[in-house]
Symmetry: D2
Subunit: 255 residues, 4 copies
């Protein structure tokens, strides 16, 4: 299981969120409390929006905590909407092409979870990627695959619909191949303007997603950034939410 | 265009061939004379056979000339059949999954060349990989793809037939999509016992393959390992050859 | 020999200078025309000033041309004063601690050249680094060493004096040890406000430094960024200059 | 705190010890039980002896568990005396020059521990390295420094004497600078023939060193390689021992 966080609000330097909180994502990478494995050191990435339409991206295969570039970049890059992800591989190689967040045009996506039986299903799922999106299949992860299927399923026009279609499509294929391992999916995506989070699983054991509203910004992530957890709300399973920096967290059932 | 070399003969430390000749592969990586680009610094790899059936492999994304690990490993690993490759990317990312040689069971394969219009054809070609070989599609290169198609086309039972079927299959698809860039293919493969080399192109401009027979071994590669070129024979275009350490180079037309 | 470039002027995205010119630094890294070696692929780095006092830094051991992070960062980071460097090692290892530019507080420094007989002199020169600066001796290059000696010799109060003292100190030690290889030094440094360039050698064969004044900015580097070289002025040997974005290049003899 | 293991005995493939035991060093790297930190992912290295006098070396900055090269090399390299180390940095950068084991001629050394107040003392300690050994000061760690001081203090003629002189020299300097943090030192070294282990600290809290004698080999390391710990003997603090594959562990007081 991976860990991630996303921020939307007034423009801040990324290190304010990525390093400074007592249980920041970089801190979590050394020993996540709420996930099944204890270390997220199989690559990491950040993605951020600025005055360009397409987001900035930085991916690296070292552990986040020891990368001096990340520390320096996070101190010098400011953004009003950014993503950060630390990876714990569920099998695929540690290389930059397999690091989150993934991007497509103005979109960013990152994910914590798995497709049950992915080794069996990858051949079938990759064949569902339409020809025009295939150049964006750069790595071998299930996460990149889910993102491309969501785009194929209409993400750019209807996020909710694209997500449910893709989850359904995946679960149908899992059923057809009698996969017993679950589908788990705790994800976030953005077009640069809005921030959408989703929490779902086929076995009611979705990876956690917490959020907290501050005065001018909202933060969402796999774990609270403070050890006390005060003010952090656990998103309900099977829900999707669009985050607005000035409004309380409000989610809708996915199905 | 990449550069590669392969060795078969009595057991030697790899650095005898990889570093010591005046125009060794590591030397070539800094400025190949006979290829179109001047630098091969987009990753490299070695593969070698020993008492195991499956070959040893080492892949790295740094330039070969500056990797202290490669220098050390080549000084300590001995083999009677080994491959070495320095990569100059034709577009795909510099990561270990895209480095040659590629392996499958007891087989090694490496390649210098390109599939014309690969960006257009990749979606179609990847769909030709059968389900049972798809777990071996780890990267995104045309080289790995060609290797998997050759296996699908019967490499383990008839090398010559598998190669020609794969080249034909690829050219047919290129024709169908009206690709004008050529197919170029200068490759070597081994099952751990025999060493096969191939040189082919759709436009009679195949990347070079030279070989030289020594007393107890034979060396083949993109360029002669000596600047004089004395004793190095250029393999004819459109041919395939099986190298035997004690016999002169002898090739057969592919088609 | 390495290659570098520096920019001062109105705020621009770094890629405007680092990638877009026909003979940009990334282009130069694949085959420098005016330097002795043809490839600068032993690590690279950028440093830039923004609203912080201390500069941003990004160092990497891959060749600059194949690093997707560099391409992305250069497209998203804007600055009115930045440095970029591609390294061709003269012996020390390819790791991030040996990549330029080097930083100290609000200062940046980068260098193309060598201390003749550095292997012999390193023990002696390192002992000249004062205790309070020793924590900044992170790598093993002669470049980092020269930078720390310049700081020890008063860089923060008198740049010209600190440079000449350091060059003299180095040459005296070279003389004492009867080193015959030359000292060569083509460097640039900044405190975040002014940009200083220096060109010197003990054998009148200083590495080149060219500059060109544009409407609102000035660029300086190892080579002209345009193949024609139109408008690029070669800095005289043995000189030092402070660059002002709106004034023609004007240098002073170092000694 | 780092973790390490060393092996001496009949020739084996390294993966038999590095991967196969239930609590192998690669397993330990993800969550060491007996050390203060939970992750050793700031680089790793192996060193091994074969028919050359000088040992083979492989260093990498990725976590050991995700490096496919390590897995492959360990499966193909056999040795009758080898070292393996997973690093958890106490402050210095994650780069190959800072990875254990360190080598000098036919010698290997690796270390778990720290010099208290190293940031303060580094300038003083580096000045104790004699000129002829300074070219071997490639990184910035206290471990490499201790190794070079031991060589300066006569390691090649009297190991026990060189170790105690170096520990005394270091503690004297710590006292002189009124350092309160302890010196901790759990190390192993070899000349290719004998394997020496040492366990010491200035505060009676030496990092653990366990050993177990098998039929034809002996293994020593920071932790038992089996979770049960059956047959693993904890080395007494303040002792030094020379390991012989066919004899029970037998140590001598250092002082």
């Amino acid at each position: 299981m991976c860990r991630w966080m996303a921020y939307t609000g007034h423009s801040v330097y990324i290190d304010k969120l990525l390093y400074e909180p007592e249980h920041s994502l970089v801190h979590q990478s050394l020993g996540a409390r709420k996930s099944e494995v204890t270390v997220n050191a199989d690559g990491f990435g950040i993605g951020w929006y600025d005055e360009h339409d397409e987001p900035g991206l930085y991916h690296e295969v070292m552990p986040a905590w020891s990368d001096c570039n990340l520390k320096n970049l996070a101190h010098h890059i400011r953004s009003n909407l950014f993503f950060a992800h630390v990876r714990s591989s569920t099998g695929t190689a540690t290389n930059r092409s397999n690091c989150h967040p993934f991007s497509y045009k103005n979109w960013l996506f990152m994910h914590n979870g798995q497709i049950g039986g992915y080794d069996t299903l990858r051949w079938h799922l990759d064949r569902l990627i339409p020809e025009h999106l295939y150049p964006f299949r750069c790595g071998a992860t299930d996460s990149e695959l889910i993102f491309l299927l969501m785009i194929a399923n209409g993400l750019e026009t209807d996020i909710h619909q694209a997500v449910t279609t893709t989850l359904k499509q995946t679960e149908d294929l899992m059923d057809k191949h009698e996969i017993v391992e679950p589908l788990r999916f705790a994800s976030t995506l953005s077009d640069g303007k809005t921030l959408t989070v989703m929490r779902y699983s086929s076995d009611d054991q979705s990876p956690t997603v917490f959020s907290k509203l501050f005065e001018q910004h909202i933060v969402v992530g796999s774990e609270p950034l403070e050890l006390s957890g005060d003010g952090w709300i656990l998103m309900p399973e099977g829900h999707i939410a669009t985050l607005v920096p000035t409004q309380p967290f409000n989610s809708t059932p996915l199905f």
